[in-house]
């Protein structure tokens, strides 16, 4: 068996761009379903997607609804890492969905350098 694959998916678009907000979740869903370890990293307005109640408001045409994808990623053990300064500047540190972990740049670097591949949206 090959070594366990790991995919890091960086998300920088928020609810204002439903398609680019949803595509990384669709990729993450397909990856966890394919037995790939997934770490999603949320920076900039991407942080809004893991603010409680926001995922439920985002749907892109012809994609599965974002909230269901988020649930699937969590159910399959995908990690959600959120940029500390990004949530602080938006005042949403205490409003993140269950499982979201606030972290700083070095943690993102550690996840990315240990991954098989990284996607940036």
């Amino acid at each position: 068996m090959p070594d366990q694959e790991k995919l890091v998916i960086m998300v920088t678009h928020g609810p204002d761009d439903p398609e680019l907000a949803t595509i990384p979740f669709a990729m993450a869903g397909a990856a966890v379903a394919s037995d790939v370890d997934v770490v999603m990293g949320f920076q900039g307005d991407g942080c809004r997607l893991v603010q409680k109640g926001v995922a439920e408001t985002v749907t892109a045409p012809d994609f599965a609804p974002l909230a269901g994808l988020l649930d699937s990623v969590r159910e399959f053990g995908g990690k959600l890492l959120v940029c500390a300064p990004c949530v602080k500047s938006r005042g949403i540190e205490e409003e993140l969905v269950e499982g979201a972990e606030v972290c700083a740049a070095a943690r993102f670097v550690a996840e990315i350098t240990s991954a098989t591949s990284t996607l940036v949206y």
Binding site: G29, A30, A33, S34, V36, S72, F76
Partner: protein, 80 residues
């Protein structure tokens, strides 16, 4: 040729990319090795998604066809 025995059917009709694959993966976790899952889907992306998924996960796509607009896939679970 004898018909393939179906152990479980999964109705993913109406679900959009990538949920048919996500539901399939979830259903397969509950099945023993060698069991056959019949997946019904309407998302046309499944035509390429299912073979890609079986290739990645080591499960076997036995066959697929279309019936009245529904895509039907027979997938055998790989040995652990």
């Amino acid at each position: 040729m004898a018909a393939t025995q179906i152990d479980q059917e999964l109705d993913a009709r109406g679900l959009l990319c990538p949920m048919p694959i996500v539901k399939t993966a979830k259903a397969m976790k509950e099945l023993p090795a060698g069991a056959v899952l019949k997946l019904l889907a309407t998302d046309r992306g499944s035509i390429t998604d299912v073979p890609a998924w079986t290739g990645t996960t080591g499960n076997e796509l036995l066959e697929w066809h279309e019936e009245d607009g529904t895509l039907v896939f027979l997938i055998r679970k790989a040995a652990d």
